[in-house]
């Protein structure tokens, strides 16, 4: 519990040599990504095979109160299943039959593995194959693991997209070069990018995940893919295994990130520089103008990011480059060297980086560093606020539209709001 030592340990770290932490992780497990995935893919149902804890996590993490029956649920394993009194595969088939007969609108059923199902080695891939024999082709059944022993928060989406990629049809060898944008974004940002792609002259492009399970594109050596989210390491490997080639770029966050991302696409598809400038010019100007509103609030502010979604390096880059904030520590649950390199290229070498977490030690470091703003999860927010520190919920970064030019100002505002609110309030804790 020697705070100064710990602080210096983090200070010596960098993207090349991050401080690796192994202790209490104050993060969600991969199941939590279902909260946006089930909204994104509107004909899919996500069935977690797990425990009461999984069900309770899902309703608590999202503050879910149910207005309409949601397209996710939990098949709760009970003692009869564990004692072998019931055959778990038969039980699962029974639950699935009941579910699908009640929900004819569901075109894709996704079986999601959890910590308990992984520990007891319940083979959900096999279950999916078996169920497909009954329900395909009308309904497809997929499986992936969102368990906390294997995945952190956004890695759940990574595993889901990996399962989708495995299921993609093979593209014909003579197909023209096509673009695949990978990673769930808000629909509005996706629509904006679609308009820009068309204006740049791109015709053959698609998004993964698609809004409907029936719109999964084909894949092959002529596919060029670009990540719209940084946490998709396994998906990227699977795409490359299927022959797709990666377009390298920073994430499309902020004016700079969005331009670099679009330029990487434009260069790949041979768009002329003049056309690129003409098409992106107005968006760039609007993004700069919108972000400028918040620069005064954020410039020179010292920001500490706790690990959450793996978006941390990209967010740090945006805050540093476009709002003039100083980054104290970038905490990330997992550091994908290759995918985050374009972000770190735009950050000073002096930024401390930590991977994994030992939350008590990280809190010590954070208190010692005394930043102006702490980006952290909901379990830590109010305790920090009660100490008089300003915080930003990191969960909003995956629950609100932040990608692209038109959202650049909104992204800056997310971080400026806690600071301007504190300035506005005359009451103190």
């Amino acid at each position: 519990m020697d705070a100064p030592d710990l602080k210096s340990a983090a200070c010596g770290s960098s993207a090349a040599e991050p401080l690796r932490q192994r202790g209490q992780h104050e993060v969600f497990c991969g199941l939590t990504s279902i909260i946006w995935l089930h909204r994104k893919m509107q004909d899919a149902f996500f069935l977690i095979v797990g425990s009461r804890t999984c069900a309770h996590l899902m309703q608590s993490a999202a503050g879910v109160m149910i207005f309409a029956e949601p397209r996710f649920g939990t098949a709760i394993i009970d003692e009869r299943d564990l004692a072998g009194m019931a055959d778990m595969h038969e039980e699962l088939d029974r639950v699935v039959d009941r579910l699908l007969s009640r929900r004819p609108d569901i075109k894709m059923l996704v079986l999601v593995g959890s910590c308990p199902s992984e520990v007891i080695k319940l083979d959900l891939d096999r279950a999916a194959q078996r169920l497909n024999k009954v329900h395909a082709p009308d309904r497809r059944v997929l499986a992936y693991s969102g368990s906390g022993i294997e995945t952190t928060f956004t890695q759940g989406e990574d595993n889901f997209l990996t399962a989708l990629v495995r299921d993609m049809p093979v593209q014909s060898e003579t197909a023209p070069a096509s673009l695949l944008v990978v990673g769930a974004m808000s629909d509005i940002a996706e629509d904006q990018f679609e308009r820009i792609f068309r204006s740049l002259g791109l015709e053959d492009f698609s998004f993964l995940p698609a809004r409907r399970s029936t719109e999964i594109p084909a894949i092959g050596p002529n596919t060029r893919y670009i990540l719209a989210q940084p946490y998709l390491g396994t998906t990227a490997s699977e795409l490359e295994r299927r022959g797709a080639q990666r377009i390298e770029a920073p994430m499309p966050l902020g004016e700079e990130g969005t331009t670099a991302w679009l330029r990487a696409i434009a260069d790949t598809f041979g768009v002329e520089a003049e056309r690129f400038d003409a098409i992106t010019g107005p968006g760039r100007e609007r993004a700069k103008k919108a972000v400028a509103h918040y620069r005064e609030t954020l410039e020179g502010k010292r920001i500490f990011l706790f690990p959450d979604s793996q978006l941390e390096p990209s967010i740090a880059r945006f805050l540093h480059r476009e709002t003039g904030a100083e980054i104290v520590e970038i905490g990330t649950p997992f550091l994908h060297r290759r995918h985050t390199q374009p972000e770190f290229d735009l950050l000073p070498d002096t930024v401390a980086v930590s991977e994994g977490q030992d939350v008590d030690k990280q809190i010590d470091r954070c208190r010692a560093a005394d930043p102006d703003l702490i980006v952290c999860g909901m379990g830590l927010g109010n305790p920090f606020e009660a100490e008089g520190r300003a915080t930003k919920w990191s969960i909003e970064l995956v629950f609100s539209p932040i990608h692209g030019y038109e959202q650049a100002g909104d992204l800056a505002e997310l971080f400026a709001r806690p600071l301007s609110r504190r300035a506005a309030l005359e009451v103190a804790v």
Binding site: M1, G23, Q24, H25, E26, V27, F28, C29, G30, L31, T32, L47, S51, R52, T53, A55, H56, L57, Q59, S60, A61, V64, M65, I66, F67, P70, G73, T74, A75, I76, I77, D78, E79, D81, L82, A86, M88, E91, L92, V95, L99, C115, P116, E118, V119, S147, G148, I149, E150, T152, D360, G377, M378, G379, L380, G381, N382, P383, A386, V429
Partner: protein, 519 residues
């Protein structure tokens, strides 16, 4: 395997966390994988707790399985004790750790810690949150109070009691304790220990010194109270003082055990429910149908207040607390309704629809159901949400609790004279369910959206066997009934028609049904 969309209770280790988070100088080391830390936000977000709950999670990963998960537990436990310096440590497993069978209790023993270790067995695949809380509280009391000899008392010293059951995330527990202490102060009864909320393990060792126990929330503290009855012959006050009648009974029960005069506590100047309920404005409350669902304590208490103190009619009574199903069954018998014992929220929703209540009293989930059905509602029980931790003082117990209940159950209803006006002038265009608020007409561009007139032109459907249809004029007459009771009128009329074997509902049928169901 059970398909679950939403659940009233979390797993048992969340119950254990609620006890740990309620107390001081106690730490809980939970053997659990990454992700189980979500439970922290129940406390920091819903309750706006200012500190992290005192829980350390071991966060084991797949690569640790079969290897050194036991070592990870030992390291986490040792570090937590060193960092947080608690008086005692609880150790237990979440659902996944239960499967790998590391035995946190045994592992903690090998650490040679200088503080007591309370091992918890929390069977995640059988039990739920409230059971976990009750079991944890019982193990703590047994651990710290067990084997103690009550301190001798001077002759004539005032009687003392413990208050058992209030917890973190309990519905209005924070304010209930204050209200109960007020009553005890008037009676001259001293409070020895309040637990678990605000108590330390050292405080628990003093529990045997009290003359009796007050059991505020049986779901949490019944197991412990029964053990204290057996072990220390401490009698238990079992009346939960929710509502005026129960508060009076509670005062008498306490006064008898303490050997004091109950009168000063019974005469409260501040209790207003009785007069408000007697005042003529409250006539319109008579016989309002109310559906009640929640934990057993609050549901049973609410039924009594609803029938005997507000003059409502209980039309449904249920609980998710299976351990206390018997209490609900006997109360349901008293109010002549079918008891609903289920933890399936969809079944509760169906029961609400079938009961056609005018007011729903329930948990956060029933509040949402009622909002969807456009039925007035109030929350009376956990599970609860951030808005159920109001900034203002708002107990459920004692006389102020009764006042709070009057306001929060009556205000959602349409008020007395207002209801008459709605009935008198039901054709008033502003009372239509399609009407926009009249003060917003200017921006809405018209105060009423006409319902499509198509049905006027439709011929009356030929009546098939066993199929009900509405005559046009009956349908029109039905529309004159205020929208918030129209659904009920429609269902009643159809039920009546079916019973009478009438297939075409006319205006006559409508009014026959009204007479039939008149109360």
């Amino acid at each position: 395997m059970q398909l679950t969309i939403w659940t009233y209770e979390g797993p048992p280790h969340v119950g254990a966390m609620r006890i740990a988070a309620s107390m001081r100088d106690l730490h809980f080391v939970l053997h659990a994988p990454q992700g189980d830390t979500y439970a922290d936000l129940l406390f920091t977000m819903i309750e706006r707790r200012k500190t992290r709950p005192p829980v350390t999670y071991t966060t084991f990963q797949a690569r640790d399985l079969g290897g050194d998960t036991a070592e990870i537990f030992k390291t986490a436990c040792r570090d937590a004790v060193e960092r947080f310096t608690p008086q005692a440590v609880l150790v237990g497993s979440s659902c996944t750790a239960e499967l790998i069978q590391d035995d946190p209790g045994g592992l903690a023993k090998t650490l040679g810690l200088s503080i007591p270790v309370i091992p918890l067995e929390l069977p995640s695949y059988q039990k739920k949150e409230n059971w976990g809380a009750a079991e944890t509280f019982y193990q703590l009391i047994r651990g710290f109070a067990g084997g103690r000899t009550p301190e001798p008392k001077e002759e004539g010293a005032p009687k003392t009691c413990n208050i058992l059951g209030p917890t973190s995330l309990g519905f209005r527990n924070r304010d209930d304790i204050v209200e109960v202490q007020k009553l005890l102060a008037i009676l001259g009864v001293e409070v020895n220990v309040i637990a678990p909320l605000g108590a330390s393990p050292a405080d628990l060792t003093r529990i045997p010194n009290a003359d009796f126990n007050i059991l505020l929330y049986p779901e949490i503290a019944d197991t412990a109270a029964r053990w204290l009855e057996r072990e220390f012959k401490q009698p238990t006050v079992r009346t939960v003082p929710i509502g005026v009648g129960a508060t009076h009974e509670f005062i008498r029960e306490v006064a008898e055990l303490a050997g004091v005069d109950p009168t000063p506590a019974l005469l409260s100047e501040e209790e207003r429910l009785s007069w408000y309920s007697r005042s003529i404005d409250s006539n319109y409350l008579t016989g309002k149908r109310v559906f009640i669902y929640g934990d057993a304590t609050h549901a049973v208490a609410a039924a009594r207040v609803a029938e005997k103190e507000l003059g409502f009619k209980v039309c449904g009574l249920g609980t998710y607390a299976r351990e206390f199903a018997r209490d609900i069954r006997s109360a349901a018998k008293e109010y002549d309704v079918e008891p609903l014992i289920t933890d399936d929220h969809l079944e509760v929703e169906d029961a609400i629809i079938a009961a056609q209540p005018e007011l729903v009293l329930g948990t956060q989930m029933e509040r949402h159901v009622a909002k969807r059905l456009r039925i007035p509602c109030a929350v009376i029980s956990s599970p609860i949400h951030v808005q159920d931790f109001p900034a203002r003082y708002s107990p459920q117990m004692g006389f102020e609790g009764a006042n709070v209940i009057f306001d929060s159950w009556v205000h959602p209803l349409t008020m007395g004279l207002e209801e008459h006006l709605l009935t008198m002038f039901r054709d008033d265009f502003e009372f239509s369910d399609n009407a926009q608020a009249s003060h917003l007409a200017a921006i809405g561009g018209g105060s009423e959206h006409e319902e499509p007139a198509q049905e006027e032109d439709q011929p009356e459907a030929p009546a098939e066997d066993g199929v009900l249809s509405w005559a046009n004029d009956a349908e029109k007459e039905l529309k004159k009934i205020p929208f918030f009771v129209r659904g009920k009128a429609r269902r009643n009329t159809e039920a009546f028609a079916a019973e009478q074997g009438v297939s075409l509902i006319t205006v006559e049928t409508l009014y026959d049904a009204k007479a039939h169901f008149a109360r």
